[in-house]
Symmetry: C2
Subunit: 150 residues, 2 copies
């Protein structure tokens, strides 16, 4: 016991390292399921989240930086992700007349239609992923995660 106190740098057992590791393992588990889910729709999770941001704007076009701000991974290269969505005709992109530095990004009707198809199934996937936890446990988990990164 005393030894443990004197050796706080033992990485293999320390509770903080273990917690961080558990978060990474959990994420990996979630991410793998997500990727294979979105593959059914020829999308990546990141492309999906761009579509979600655009749909939420209900017709009002977004600039690149506005889309960027709402993405989970801030460093992701939104330019190239959007270009891929343009190729798939799920979004459109045009230079704004009032400020030529900015671009106007809009989701197309086909994009909306795809999202509607996806969201229904995604709810099932996410519900299934959390099925091992009770409502109360889910609530606590969310609280703890929020507190962790606050």
């Amino acid at each position: 016991m005393l030894l443990k106190k004197l050796a706080p740098t033992n990485t293999t057992t320390n509770i903080y390292n273990k917690t961080v590791s558990n978060i990474l393992v959990t994420n990996n588990w979630v991410t793998e399921k997500n990727i294979s889910f979105f593959k059914n729709y020829d999308l990546s999770p990141q492309q999906y989240s761009i579509l979600r941001v655009l749909k939420a704007r209900k017709g009002i076009p977004a600039s690149l930086s506005e889309v960027h701000q709402h993405m989970i991974s801030r460093m992701s290269n939104t330019t190239r992700l959007i270009d891929k969505l343009v190729i798939k005709e799920l979004v459109t992109k045009s230079v704004r007349k009032d400020n030529k530095r900015k671009i106007a990004i809009r989701i197309t009707r086909e994009g909306i239609r795809l999202l509607n198809r996806i969201d229904y199934k995604l709810n099932s996937l996410n519900e299934n992923m959390t099925k091992n936890l009770s409502s109360k446990e889910i609530f606590i988990l969310n609280e703890l995660l929020a507190k962790l990164i606050s």
Copy 2:
């Protein structure tokens, strides 16, 4: 209330979607901190975890599949990660005589020395990352994450 029950597919508010999203956000937060930490040592988190696996073998060489099994992201391309560590002279790689299909991967003395330097600082980083949670909360978080993916 009734409406909410009738509309379980509303993705924006549903607790399951929110939980999955929170896990992804948390992971992103942890991952970003990790990456910038390991950058100080010219390593990626994945390269670090390979070194950790090799050190744990205490001199006994590992095959590629043995290293692979212990990594968080199973699909990562361990061959190429190891080749990068070989270039940095942190590990060695040789064909095994008893079975030419297998390779013997060993951590070098320099690799061990680097790990020792890193681990001390990594403990601080991980302790700092979890500083917003009490010991009890950390315990519960670990329990819930384990249950989630079980």
